[in-house]
Amino acid sequence: MVTDYLDWLRREGRIVIVGASLAGLRAAETLRAEGFAGSLTMIGDEPNEPYDRPPLSKAVLLGKADALHTELPRRREVDAKWRLGVPATGLDMTEKRVRLADGDQVEYDRLLIATGVRARPWPKESEAQLDGVILLRTGGDAAALYRRLKAGPRRVLVIGAGFAGSEVASACREMGLAVTVAERAGAPLVGALGGVIGSVSAELYRENGVDLRTGVMVTGLEGDSVGRVKAAHLSDGSAVETDLVVVSLGSVRNTEWLSGSGLGAGPRGIACDAGCRAFDFRGIVTDDIFVAGDVARSPHALFGYQFLSLEHWGNAVAQAEIAAHNMISSSSDRRPHLWVPAFWSSQFRVNIKSVGVPPMGEQIMITQGSLAERRFVGVYGYQGRVIAAVSFDNTRWLEFYQRQIEVGAPFPVEYPTVDRRPEGRRPVPADFPDPSLPTHGPTVTLSGYSPTDRQLVFVPAH
């Protein structure tokens, strides 16, 4: 009987979680909170206890938090076997085993994969290895970056003006360091928020004394005789003298360890259903493997059932809770993960928050405040409905817009709002770059079928 199995699973089953960070920890806590009494194993390749990443590009760089002490607060005892500092290297779906780098194998009855993403490295390997070329994803990265910033580099070069790059640039300026930011697109944050908001961000950059170069690519990094970076060459022919380069080119999903396992895992993440159950490579849903957090991509009813990959803190928490619940529940008790995407950032003392999926937006209207004051709410429209909203220093209104997204409220937004200015009377194009030309990593990726995807050869099975 299924219920007998579930009873047994909850009592003495074995659950393995690969990826011992935000999503992994929250899932473990939820499992215990919901009465899972069996054995729990947490596998993580990082040596430390689960810690929080958002401060790494904010408070940590300003010396307000210690890079190696952003541990996540524990909600409850999880009573797990911790296998830290050991990556998982493979998965045997038939035998229900996870292989570890140290040769061990861990058996599971239910598996949760929460391996997240890593920073996309500088593509030219020899240049990437120059001393002074840094990525920012882990606590160790942040500690190293902080140390170098403190040492007072002559100039910092940030490659890529997404959220992470912007936050680093902001921290540099707050520390009084000279910083150049190179971005391939026409403005910072365009991949995530579009050109209209991107131009506000560009102004913020410039006002804060960042040397912002847009519409350019860094074509090469140059080292000195002892292997320290000393300059970067840009596609417009210019060069930037620098002794510290922060590569912020978005992320790569940690799925390589699953290759050949038969799971539906690839460079875009691990596909799963709305209940966080992973698909195998044939598109068939598994019943014992779940995914959560940055590594997952799942279909969302509010956004045309597109598969969304979200690199959002709140998503990792919410998805982990749903996944954990579903892992130990019968099919009729399972819940869908229908979190409305939400993301925040802070840079140049401005608090930025978005809800929904801005990159789906065709048009934008400023419904409150004004772009010029950099205090506003912008609402994105897609095919006649509200699909997303972004606020600069106006967070408290976003809840309202979230509900507008949830009810598919009509766009353009016709009703008056307090603090609506003349510029917000009419929608304007949101000005996203062509989605088939990726910029620095947007934090939301729509990864449903796209006509620009031509790599597949379809061979129906007989």
């Binding site: 419904t367 205090r375 408290r396 809840e399 309202f400 009703y415 008056p416 709002t417 307090v418 603090d419």
Partner: protein
């Protein structure tokens, strides 16, 4: 119970001691509109929460049009401009931001927490004064003087002037009560009192402009951030607001707290054993007995729909926070006082852009006050239950709370 009488019953003093059954009745009609030009009354948690974040809802009284005769035309008409609590963005944001820069993060992240020691001293002093008594009025001897002393120090208002400003605060606060608003007389008194309070504060403000000190009045006068400076009138209306809001609500929070603990001796004992429990107790109090019971000063600037009811543009909207806080759709077993609740996002401080400015201070004051009272009083008992209440339906709390005890520890 007929609906036509529900609002009157709520504002009726006879029901002040326990309005909760009336709120329960109220929630049965999520959008209650009893009379032609009466308010639309919202009482369920989610509706209140969403309206507090709704940019079509205004706090600016000049937007009331459909409500006919504008009984709220308020103190502001007499000369003091409205304080930020009665404004919409962008003016609200600007003034609140400037006031906040001398109060909280990011500019003064530790201002409140650094007052901990000072607050504890005030509390100890007040309690030491009961040493010879075996019966006291918690309100007069403790719950009132404590926050008044604190807000005076924070703002830089001489504590000795309390009798002077109290005489002005009382009519202003009475003017906030929709029950008493029916009389044009009391509205006029409130307006005049507000102006006089502003004039009283103006004396201090002028003095601080010349000779700044380490207090909020000095900061307000000399503010000069990215938003520029406040005008003198803005400083005065902000100071009036902070002075009143800084104690009129906390006194009720502390008194309601003591009353509730005396009614729930188990938690009183637990708090005595573990002062750290005060954090949870205060949060639950803010849900269970919120000092601000309802917000009667919102209007909508366009037709809006709530639960299928269209509220016409310009209508007054009352958000009954205390009813939302006991909404069974939101909280399990809502009528039970249960500080062990894990999920407690109450509406005690409102929500959205007007959410209580002084919340961090109010929390800290109530936590210290209750933990210390309970620790020091030996075997405290209520003299009468329910105690006599203040008339106000908006800022609800006991007028007196007489207790006896066997001694001080």
């Amino acid at each position: 119970m007929t609906h036509a009488s529900l609002l009157r019953q709520i504002t009726d003093y006879a029901n002040r001691a326990n309005p909760y059954p009336l709120y329960e009745e109220l929630r049965k009609t999520p959008v209650l509109h009893e009379e032609e030009d009466g308010p639309y009354v919202i009482s369920s948690y989610w509706d209140i929460e969403s309206l507090l974040h709704d940019p079509r809802i205004s706090s600016d009284q000049s937007n009331v049009t459909a409500a006919g005769e504008d009984e709220l035309s308020g103190p502001e008409a007499t000369g003091l401009p409205p304080s930020f609590i009665r404004l919409d963005p962008p003016e609200h944001d600007r003034l609140r931001r400037m006031a906040n820069s001398s109060f909280g993060p990011p500019h003064r992240p530790r201002r409140i927490d650094s007052m901990r020691g000072e607050l504890a001293e005030i509390v100890t002093g007040l309690i030491d004064d009961f040493a010879d008594a075996r019966q006291i009025d918690v309100v007069d001897r403790f719950a009132y003087p404590f926050p008044v002393t604190v807000i005076c120090r924070l703002l830089g208002v001489p504590r000795e002037d309390e009798p002077r400003f109290r005489a002005l605060v009382d009519p202003i606060v009475a003017g906030l009560d929709p029950g008493s608003r029916t009389s044009a007389e009391s509205m006029k008194t409130a307006q005049e009192a507000r102006l006089q309070l502003g004039m009283y504060l103006n004396g201090l403000v002028e003095q601080r402009a010349k000779d700044p000190r380490e207090d909020m009045l000095s900061d307000l006068v000399n503010s000069n951030g990215p938003d520029g400076a406040m005008t003198t009138m803005e400083v005065l209306s902000t100071a009036v607001l902070l002075l009143i809001a800084g104690h009129e609500t906390t006194v009720n929070l502390i008194t309601n707290g003591m009353l509730t603990l005396l009614r729930h001796p188990r938690y009183l004992q637990r708090l005595r054993d573990d002062p750290g429990l005060s954090v949870k107790i205060v949060e639950e109090l803010l849900r269970y007995e919120p000092p601000v019971q309802l917000l009667p000063q919102r209007t909508c600037i366009t037709d809006i729909e709530v639960r299928g009811v269209t509220i016409p543009k310009g209508s007054r909207i009352w958000l009954v926070l205390a009813a939302g806080n006991r909404d069974p759709e939101r909280f399990h077993d809502p009528d039970r006082f249960d500080p062990d609740r894990e999920d407690i996002q109450h509406l005690g401080f409102g929500s959205g852009i007007h959410s209580c400015f002084g919340a961090p201070l109010a929390r800290l004051e109530a936590q210290l006050a209750l933990a210390e009272l309970v620790r020091r009083l030996d075997n405290p008992r209520l003299v009468e239950d329910p105690p006599p209440y203040r008339p106000n339906a908006v800022l609800r709390g006991p007028r007196h709370l007489n207790i006896t005890f066997d001694g001080l520890r």
